[in-house]
Assembly symmetry: C2
Homo-oligomer: 360 residues x 2
């Protein structure tokens, strides 16, 4: 009883060959019913569990998929989002007997002082994973390029248009901001600002586009100074502070909007802070909307009207897509997940509704 039983022990006990046990284990070929019963009994009696290590070795694959995260972003956004995606991935991958491994790619690269392609090649050759999920694509990312180049099965959460043949799983960003902006026009707003990062990333231009579409549909022609653009490095532009700065800046000049569509919830909070500081009362004076519906969106005051996305489901979609790729199936290059509008108390009918109605 001292040592782990091996496939060999099971075979001996069932008086069959190890090969038969193996076949039963992974259903790689049919096994006679009575042989099967014998083997199963032997496994039970011995308490046999196959060694993952030996299986992986023999198969030459680890049944592991790497989740590449960028662990620098300390943003709330970041970490809650990442773990939720990871759980979603796990939901579907666990069933397929894959497991997920978190890798802080950029940090690892820096640490080992390797270039992206060196690093990628090395990890790939080590058979550390069979596929990868990329969670925070930045503007242009050497690591992603290297992964694509190396033809490693990969799925990206979000968009990364710079690379051919990468499978993208994203939420409907255009539709989301369109919806939430339409909600604003529905309750009478006509002068609606957009607070977002510069258009470097697809997600940024997508969300801006949804906003524009909604305005256009309502026959509103956006004024150039309705665009409040944050400044900073890749991650900074999405932050509370950047949003806060942008709005403080904008509020210095005379401004004329009655609502603001923020790129995300965190930035919406930055706007809220800035407006509150300048003595506004919300949502009476200005309506504000966000995007993401992070858990805190309903807990803050005023609670945020925002666009809800099911992040865990996003992870599940990504997992399914990757699984399909690994099994050699054809997969859509782009999956767009629907989002929904959540109306809370950061939006209210505009007070100049009547004025507007009179205008024409």
């Amino acid at each position: 009883m001292g040592t782990r039983p091996t496939i060999h022990d099971v075979a001996m006990r069932a008086k069959v060959s190890p090969a038969t046990v193996s076949r039963l284990l992974n259903g790689s070929a049919r096994v006679g019913p009575e042989t099967e019963a014998l083997v199963r009994q032997a496994m039970d009696e011995l308490g046999y569990v196959p060694s993952r290590l030996a299986q992986s070795f023999a198969r030459g694959s680890s049944r592991t998929i790497a989740v590449l995260v960028d662990g620098e972003g300390e943003s709330l956004q970041g970490n809650a989002f990442l773990m939720t995606v990871a759980l979603g991935l796990n939901d579907v991958l666990a069933d397929a007997d894959y497991s997920i491994r978190i890798i802080n790619g950029h940090q690892a690269m820096r640490q080992s002082r390797q270039t992206a392609s060196e690093w990628t090649r090395e990890r790939w050759m080590r058979h550390e994973f069979d596929g990868v999920v990329i969670t925070n694509p930045t503007t242009t990312d050497t690591l992603i390029e290297a992964i694509v180049q190396a033809e490693i099965p990969a799925v990206v959460i979000g968009r990364y248009p710079h690379a051919e043949g990468l499978i993208e799983i994203d939420v409907d960003n255009v539709g989301g901001t369109r919806m939430v902006t339409a909600h604003l026009t529905d309750i009478g707003h006509r002068r609606i600002a957009f607070l977002g990062p510069p258009d470097r990333l697809t997600v940024a231009s997508d969300r801006r586009q949804g906003y524009l579409e909604a305005l256009t549909r309502s026959g509103i022609w956006p004024d150039p100074d309705w665009f409040l653009e944050t400044e900073g490095t890749d991650l900074e532009v999405f932050s509370f502070d950047a949003a806060h700065r942008a709005v403080v800046m904008a509020a210095k000049k005379p401004w004329s909007w009655s609502a603001v569509v923020a790129f995300n919830d965190e930035m919406a909070l930055g706007a809220v802070r800035a407006l509150l500081e300048s003595g506004m009362e919300l949502p009476r004076d200005v309506s504000i909307v966000g995007f993401d519906d992070l858990p805190f969106a309903r807990m803050v005051n005023p609670s945020l009207t925002t666009v809800h996305q099911d992040i865990r489901q996003l992870g599940q979609h990504a997992g399914r897509a990757l699984l399909a790729v690994l099994r050699g199936r054809k997969v859509a290059d782009l999956t767009i997940q629907t989002v929904s509008l959540v109306i809370r108390s950061s939006t209210a009918p505009t007070r100049d509704l009547t004025t507007v109605d009179l205008e024409p």
Copy 2:
């Protein structure tokens, strides 16, 4: 060039034995300097990278540590916390060439319809991991018990006093609430409520104790109805909604506190919401403090005075402890990480300061 070079190829090319290459690879024995040069050159020329799979198999260990999460809690708390811990673990484990694997333990158990000990035994026997980090200990957890029973190297984030010999890494909960409560008394508050979950978990009683200690030191004798206790299941009691309910309930009766110490930031927000709804102005009428200093704590309005804990560092501590255990070193059973007070705008001097001063 079609196939991956193996240790054998390197050995041939360098005209040494595979064993020598192996020794160089993991520094398991001294190698002559010129041999080393030869081997290194051969490795470079071939672009050799050792196969993780083969290494793990030969060693009988996966160099993987499992991070057990409970993926049911959709709480903000939960996921941001978990990923941050994971990143901290990664920081130190990556250096030691370990990698981390996220496992949704309870879900996996349920899925495979196994008992905790069956599940644990099976995973352990499969050599899927060398050690485990447990992230959300609940009141009494069969999975943890099974892990301890199986003598698997394990570290728990938080406290789990029910199990002998488990290594615990926690923050200074007592000190934290003591500090933040003392801040309240410092600015004149004498009637301070505590909003928390029932005392089932150590973390709950610890934080309550810190509160009590601070009061005692200020010569305040807490009134029984200063204790606002949330109700619900294991995870619910820590939630925004539970906190909101508890405060709404309490606010129905005449109450007499000027400040409330909430168990955590999320619950503090629940209290804020309830108080705002009942027409209070914060922090003018009531001061509120939280615990955790989650990223959103500074973004909400009013921004929360709270206790900051470095979660990533918590993960790093856990990683170091586990590494030490795996290396057979003696490790302290309990590590307490210090926390710090962050004063923001949810607290203000009490208005009845003068009244209080006159009382004696």
